[in-house]
Symmetry: none
Subunit: 129 residues, 2 copies
């Protein structure tokens, strides 16, 4: 369900955060789902438990997870938010998208490639329709 690359330049905890966010965004991790204990996930991935704990904590700070000592970590955020994001959050999200597109442009990716990636991502998260 989660794969990480120790050889990658991006930090392990960032890979974990991105992977877990992806699972939540795609609905594969729903509200009240329990996550594996830090020690177990760390053992499965062959990394240190602190690295997993750090990823859990970042997502907890982001309001997606809730960790309780002795009990475990569960998903508390549901993707559906009827009211939608607030103005400043919306601005933050738009800035993040703009930065990602800037990155692609700087690297010299052609328009068609970017459009293909975008289509794939939207289909993954919002459905094929």
């Amino acid at each position: 369900m989660l794969t990480i690359s120790l050889a990658s330049a991006v930090p392990i905890h960032d890979q974990l955060v991105a992977g877990l966010r992806g699972l939540i965004a795609a609905g594969k991790l729903a509200k009240d789902d329990e996550l594996p204990p830090v020690r177990q996930l760390a053992a499965d991935l062959g990394i240190n438990l602190n690295t997993v704990a750090r990823a859990y904590r970042e997502l907890t700070d982001a309001g997606l997870l809730a960790s309780v000592r002795g009990r475990g970590t569960v998903v508390i955020a549901t993707v559906e938010r009827p009211s939608g994001p607030k103005a400043d959050e919306r601005k933050r999200i738009e800035a993040g998208l703009a930065a990602a597109f800037n990155d692609a442009k700087i690297a010299g990716l052609p328009r068609e490639v970017v459009e293909a990636i975008v289509n794939r991502q939207i289909a993954r998260l919002w459905g094929e329709a």
Copy 2:
């Protein structure tokens, strides 16, 4: 011609390398074109000359530039080496886009809003067509 972000998480020299690669790939920097001295570019961007020197060196090692002490740095190739780190770069960019879309999905942005943002960004960077 080159813009960098000191606030970004990606190292400055990586931003420089990516930007210069983009200029070369786009033909805005052609063979035998001279690059600004490390001190001048560093002053223009408000960074240390070593950071610029590092970017020049990486591109020199990649076979795109040639630096000579006392003379300057020039472009010597207009095509990337086929075996370059392009796959990694591409993967990194795709991960960045995926993370940004995850963020939007988790925040509850509807598909239409995201598509509108995407269209605006693509138009901004790759033209209206």
